[in-house]
C-alpha cells in the first residue's frame, strides 16, 4: 500500500523531465537510422573509422568491421555519449532525489513519520527509477523501430536492437542500484549526485583506459561498462555472464542500502 503511494509520488515528481529525455533518445536513435542509410555518411564514417587510431575505436567501444555496416552504425547509436548521458541523468536524478533529496529538503520527516518502512521507501524509489529507465530504453528502441519501419534497410531489423535496448536498461539499472546505495548513505541530493557521477565517470574511464593500456587491462572487469557491448549483443544476444554481473551488483548494492538506510538517522 505505502509502496504504491510512494511510487506514484515519485512518478509525479519526475514525470515531466522523463518526457524530454525519452523524446531525445527516440529522436537520436531515429536519426541514427538515417545516418546509417546515407551512402555519403557511411562512406565518410568508413573512411574515418579506417583512419582512426585504435585508441579512438576503443573509446567508441566498437568493432571496426561491424561499425561501418548500416547495422553497426545503428549499434553505435546505443553507445554514443549522448545516449549514455541521457540515461545517466535519469539514473542520478530519481534515486538521489528519492532518499538523500528528501532528507536534505526536510520532506523525509513527513514521509518517515507515517506508517512507511524504510524498506518500502527504497522499494518505491527503485520501482520509479526502473520504470522510468524502462521507458527511456524503450523510447530509444522505438526511435530505431520507427526509423527502420519508415525506410527499411536491407538485412537490418529493429528486433535485433531490442536486446541492445535491454542491455542499455540493465547497465543503467545496475548503476541505479548503486545510486540508491549512494543516496541511502547521504543527506543531500547534490552530494549523492556528485558521488554517483564520479562513480559512473570513473567506471567509463576505467573501461576505456583498460582497453587501451594493457598494464591495467586486468582491471577492466571492475567497470560496469565492460559488460555493455551493443555490437556483441547485436551479433550474439545478451550474455549470461553479463546478466550475472549486473544482478550481483544490484543485489549487493541494494542489500547494503536496505541495511544502512534502515538503521540511519533521518
Amino acid at each position: 500500500m505505502s509502496v504504491s503511494v510512494l511510487f506514484r509520488h515519485h512518478v509525479r515528481l519526475h514525470r515531466v523531465p522523463l518526457v524530454p529525455l525519452a523524446a531525445g533518445l527516440a529522436l537520436f536513435e531515429w536519426m541514427m537510422t538515417f545516418v546509417a542509410r546515407q551512402p555519403a555518411v557511411s562512406s565518410f564514417l568508413t573512411a574515418a573509422l579506417r583512419a582512426a587510431p585504435p585508441e579512438f575505436l576503443s573509446l567508441m567501444n566498437q568493432d571496426l568491421l561491424t561499425s561501418v555496416s548500416a547495422q553497426g552504425i545503428i549499434g553505435v547509436g546505443y553507445t554514443h555519449p549522448f545516449v549514455l548521458i541521457m540515461m545517466a541523468v535519469w539514473t542520478a536524478r530519481v534515486p538521489c532525489a528519492a532518499l538523500a533529496g528528501e532528507v536534505g529538503r526536510g520532506t523525509m520527516n513527513l514521509v518517515a513519520a507515517r506508517p512507511v518502512t524504510r524498506a518500502a521507501q527504497i522499494a518505491a524509489a527503485l520501482g520509479a527509477f526502473l520504470g522510468g529507465l524502462g521507458i527511456l530504453a524503450a523510447a530509444a528502441w522505438l526511435g530505431t523501430l520507427i526509423g527502420l519501419l519508415g525506410r527499411p534497410l536491407p538485412g537490418v531489423t529493429a528486433w535485433r536492437y531490442l536486446p541492445v535496448a535491454a542491455a542499455l536498461w540493465l547497465t543503467f539499472a545496475a548503476f541505479g542500484t548503486v545510486a540508491i546505495l549512494v543516496s541511502a548513505l547521504n543527506r543531500e541530493a547534490g552530494t549523492a549526485i556528485a558521488w554517483l557521477s564520479g562513480l559512473m565517470a570513473g567506471s567509463y574511464v576505467l573501461d576505456y583506459a583498460a582497453r587501451v593500456w594493457p598494464r591495467i587491462a586486468s582491471l577492466r572487469p571492475l567497470s560496469l561498462f565492460r559488460y555493455y557491448e551493443p555490437q556483441r549483443v547485436v551479433r550474439s544476444g545478451l550474455a549470461g555472464c553479463d546478466l550475472l554481473v549486473f544482478a550481483a551488483v544490484a543485489a549487493g548494492a541494494l542489500l547494503i542500502a536496505f541495511v544502512w538506510f534502515a538503521r540511519r538517522d533521518l
Binding site: 505505502s2 529538503r105 520532506t107 514521509v111 518517515a112 513519520a113 538517522d265
Partner: protein, 295 residues
C-alpha cells in the same frame, strides 16, 4: 508496555560530543495536552524526532501508543499526527496534492480536513496553488492540516504556532481544544509560555537536553510572579513594601519586587500613596517563572 500513549525511560541522544538529550523519563497520559518548553537548542525537536523513530536513541527507550519506537512495526504511526518544526514541502505539488498524498500514506481517511481548513482559514483556491507560492504562514497552516487531517490519537506538534497570525493562532487553540474533547493526546513543543498556559494541562521544561521539571499548568499560573519596578521622585523606605513579595532591589528612589499576581492590585494601591515617578510590571522570563515554581 505502559498504557500511556507516550512513555520514555532514560531516553538520550548524543551527536558525537554533543549530548542533545539526556535521560528523559516522561509519561503523557491519554487525552492530555502536554507542553514541552525550552529555549532553542534545548532538545525539544530531538525528543519529538526520537518519539517518531526518525532518529535512533543512544540511550534509553520510548514507546508511542503502546509500541516500542525501536520495533520494526510501523502501523502505530497511522494514528500519530506530526508537525515538523521546519515546515518544508514538495514545491511543485499543490497544497491539495500534498494533503492527499500524505493522507494516502497514512492509510486513513482525511475526515478532519474540512474543519481544519475552515478553522485555519485556508481556502480551496489557495490549496490549488503550488506550495512554492505559499508564504511561511500558509506553509505552517498546511503543516497543521496534514498533521491533524486524519484525526490522530496522538499529535506531536513542534512549535505549532510559529509564523501564524493571532487570528489563526486562536483557531489553532480551538483545534487543540477539539482534539482534547475527542480524547486525543497532544504533545507540543514551544518556547512561548502564554501559548502553553493557554492550551496545556501539564508542561515539562527542558534545558540543555535535560528535563528540568514537569508540572501542572494551573499551579504554575497561580504561582507565577511578576517583577515590579517602581521609581520615586523622593526617597521612600523600601522595607515598607517588602511584605508584598520578595524585595530584589531596595534603594530609596527605586524598588524592585517579585510579587504574586494576586498581590498586584494591593501593591499598586500602596504605591499610589507614595511619590511614584514610574511603574513597570514585567512577566518574568519563561525559564525564571517555571523554575521559580518547580525547583
Amino acid at each position: 508496555m505502559s498504557d500511556a500513549p507516550l512513555r520514555t525511560r532514560g531516553l538520550g541522544k548524543r551527536y558525537g560530543r554533543v549530548q542533545a538529550l539526556d535521560d528523559l523519563s516522561l509519561d503523557v497520559e491519554q487525552g492530555e495536552v502536554f507542553g514541552f518548553l525550552g529555549p532553542n537548542g534545548a532538545g525539544k525537536t530531538t525528543t519529538i524526532r526520537l518519539l517518531l523513530g526518525l532518529i535512533r536513541p543512544t540511550a534509553g527507550e520510548a514507546s508511542v501508543l503502546g509500541q516500542p519506537v525501536s520495533s520494526p512495526a510501523v502501523a502505530w504511526r497511522a494514528e500519530v499526527g506530526f508537525l515538523p518544526g521546519d515546515m518544508t514541502f514538495w514545491p511543485r505539488l499543490s497544497g491539495l496534492e500534498t494533503l492527499d498524498f500524505l493522507a494516502a500514506l497514512a492509510g486513513r481517511p482525511p475526515d478532519g480536513r474540512a474543519a481544519l481548513l475552515d478553522r485555519l482559514a485556508l481556502a480551496a483556491t489557495e490549496l490549488a496553488r503550488p506550495v512554492r507560492t505559499y508564504s511561511d504562514g500558509m506553509k505552517q497552516k498546511l503543516g497543521l492540516v496534514q498533521a491533524l487531517q486524519c484525526s490522530p490519537r496522538l499529535a506531536l506538534l513542534d512549535e505549532p504556532t510559529k509564523g501564524l497570525d493571532p487570528l489563526v493562532q486562536h483557531g489553532f487553540y480551538e483545534i487543540i481544544a477539539d482534539l482534547k474533547a475527542d480524547g486525543a493526546t497532544v504533545f507540543l513543543s514551544s518556547h512561548v509560555l502564554s501559548e502553553v498556559e493557554r492550551v496545556c494541562d501539564r508542561v515539562g521544561m527542558l534545558r540543555a537536553g535535560r528535563l528540568v521539571s514537569v508540572g501542572d499548568v494551573e499551579a504554575l499560573r497561580r504561582a507565577e510572579r511578576r517583577r515590579v519596578r517602581a521609581d520615586f521622585t523622593a526617597d521612600v523606605d523600601p522595607t515598607t513594601l517588602a511584605h508584598f513579595g520578595e524585595l530584589v532591589v531596595g534603594h530609596p528612589r527605586r524598588v524592585e519586587l517579585l510579587v504574586a499576581r494576586a498581590e498586584i492590585p494591593a501593591l499598586v494601591a500602596r504605591l499610589g500613596m507614595l511619590p511614584l515617578a514610574d511603574l513597570v510590571v514585567e512577566r518574568p522570563s519563561l525559564e525564571v517563572a517555571f523554575l521559580e515554581h518547580y525547583r
